[in-house]
Symmetry: none
Subunit: 197 residues, 4 copies
């Protein structure tokens, strides 16, 4: 394996590990030594890959946003109704919340909450565009086809992002009595009812 490839792999393993720690312990309660230790790596070497804790946090949000965005893009490319797309998006979101809860919780606990970290370099939605763009495409397609009502994009986006994030938050709080996947039908229905033409 080439050196460049090894470096890229290590870079990604840092992202994965930091993502988990930031999500579970919080950004400020996770220290660089914490991350290095979990990786069996020295603190100094970690800084060879990411030059500051803030920069690492920003790379993680981009990475996570892209991963989520790519899954949604696959749904967007299917030839199915908006109603079915909503169901699939909700389902994949909840599946991710079950299999990789750290990815969703990173949005809630790190990105959304520590704005001072992301202010410089993630203005607007720059760092989450991978995800936002796909939601935008979904919505525009649905409006074009006449299946969804033409409304302000942010009214629709806030519904999606806020609703799904809220459910994952409740899951994290152990408030939900069922597995989150079992809410898929209810919530798809609610979202569709809210958005349909």
């Amino acid at each position: 394996m080439k050196i460049a490839e090894k470096k890229a792999l290590k870079r990604e393993s840092i992202i994965q590990t930091a993502l988990q720690l930031f999500s579970s312990k919080g950004f400020h309660k996770t220290t660089i030594p914490d991350i290095a230790k979990k990786l069996h790596m020295s603190v100094g070497n970690l800084y060879n890959y990411f030059s500051s804790k803030d920069i690492l946090a920003k790379e993680i949000i981009k990475y996570t946003s892209n991963v989520l965005g790519e899954e949604i893009r696959e749904v967007n490319m299917l030839e199915i109704s908006a109603r079915e797309k909503i169901r699939k998006i909700v389902a994949l979101y909840f599946r991710m919340a079950e299999r990789h809860p750290e990815r969703i919780e990173y949005f809630l606990r790190v990105y959304l909450a520590n704005r001072e970290v992301f202010n410089d370099g993630c203005e607007g939605m720059t760092c989450v565009s991978g995800f936002v763009t796909e939601i935008m495409i979904f919505f525009d397609d649905g409006v074009s086809s006449g299946e969804l009502r033409d409304q302000d994009f942010f009214s629709a986006f806030g519904l999606f992002m806020g609703y799904l994030g809220g459910m994952v938050f409740l899951k994290g709080e152990e408030m939900l009595t069922k597995d989150i996947g079992q809410y898929t039908d209810d919530i798809s229905l609610n979202i569709y009812a809210a958005l349909k033409a």
Copy 2:
């Protein structure tokens, strides 16, 4: 004025000031000396009112949750349709986001993000019950009257809490092109469509 009253007043002024600072700078970036300074008070004395930073944070979430809950209770007591209630709740939430943005942002930036602070003493929704209870009452009334569909409470609550919170987040990010109040109609409509029978 009695001593007890003076103490209560000072207690509340500490809560107000800490609420503002925590919301704008973040919990970990706000220091106890910061709060004391803004209050023209010594740090030592501040500790006479709240015995730790974490306890102060917990008192604030209870306080804020109660303030919001009381406003919703007033709506709940009106003899109007669920549809109208939704509109009033959305309106009062957005009004609060405009006049006291720190109260809403505290949920997003402090409560939601620093779970380790609230884990001990705010299990479940203990510290936000002032707010949650009123949403529950609203929902039960709507279902009883037959106007709202009978669904899992958390499906409904996640919609309310997540959607409204998401919109305020977008406002904070300066993503919204209009004043948040102007979204009241759209969003009330969406929520009603999602919840109605």
Copy 3:
């Protein structure tokens, strides 16, 4: 004793201790814990008096420059010839080099050498004006009285400052075969010969 007085005393004791350590070990080799330990003080408390290591370094140069300046001022106020003033200034400088070598070495080892520390806040000669001003007065008086040749001030100042500093450097290197005080006559004579009309 008033609290303000105690604080001022402690402030000065920090300056004295840091002065000694910076002079003997060098600025970069002296750590804040080193200083705190020698003072039987906590690191955190030291920061209550000086908000950074750089700021401490700047306060020391001002302090030292003023101490030296005041001694020279006393010479300047005497009704004696420039020749005699030179002798007295050289003598007091060398006396200080013997009794408080750290003060002179601070100029050489810290101020002169770590320009990046003093660049911000000590532009030009701002932080050493206490000393420079008195040399300027000495020189102007001597020229006015006709005893000294009228030449570029910096030609004269460089002679004084550089020559005396150079001798103290040689002393520090243990190159001098006699006590530095015994050079007073030679060097006064040389300086007078260089400056006289």
Copy 4:
């Protein structure tokens, strides 16, 4: 070109580059990676030439001292008066301060200030003997010929070294109103007045 020659050339280019960086940024603020980067060389390889940062610093002072010493030696070999020699030495010193300021500043900012680095291996004036020896020869010759007064060598040396160094320091501080070369006459005159018989 032989391998040994190539190695010698590379060695010298390291010295030159490190000299510049140490002089402009200071010894402790210049890192080994900084030097390697400017040389388009790896840090590991740099260590093949100089086995530590301290050793590199010592080699530089010897190198610089020799360069300066050789220029003075040429003056010493001329059949001219001490007065003229002084002028030539001052002139070449100031010329070097203009064309290769890093060489002079290395004495001031690195050698003079970081004694702990040079203590081991540069005792006394070992590492600057190239320069000091020539000043000694100049002085002895002047005294032998009867043109200069017979005084303690260090009184004379301190004058030369300190005065010239002081002027270059003032130049570095941008205190001088004229080009340093224009001070040549004034300062030669002062030095001659101080040293003459």
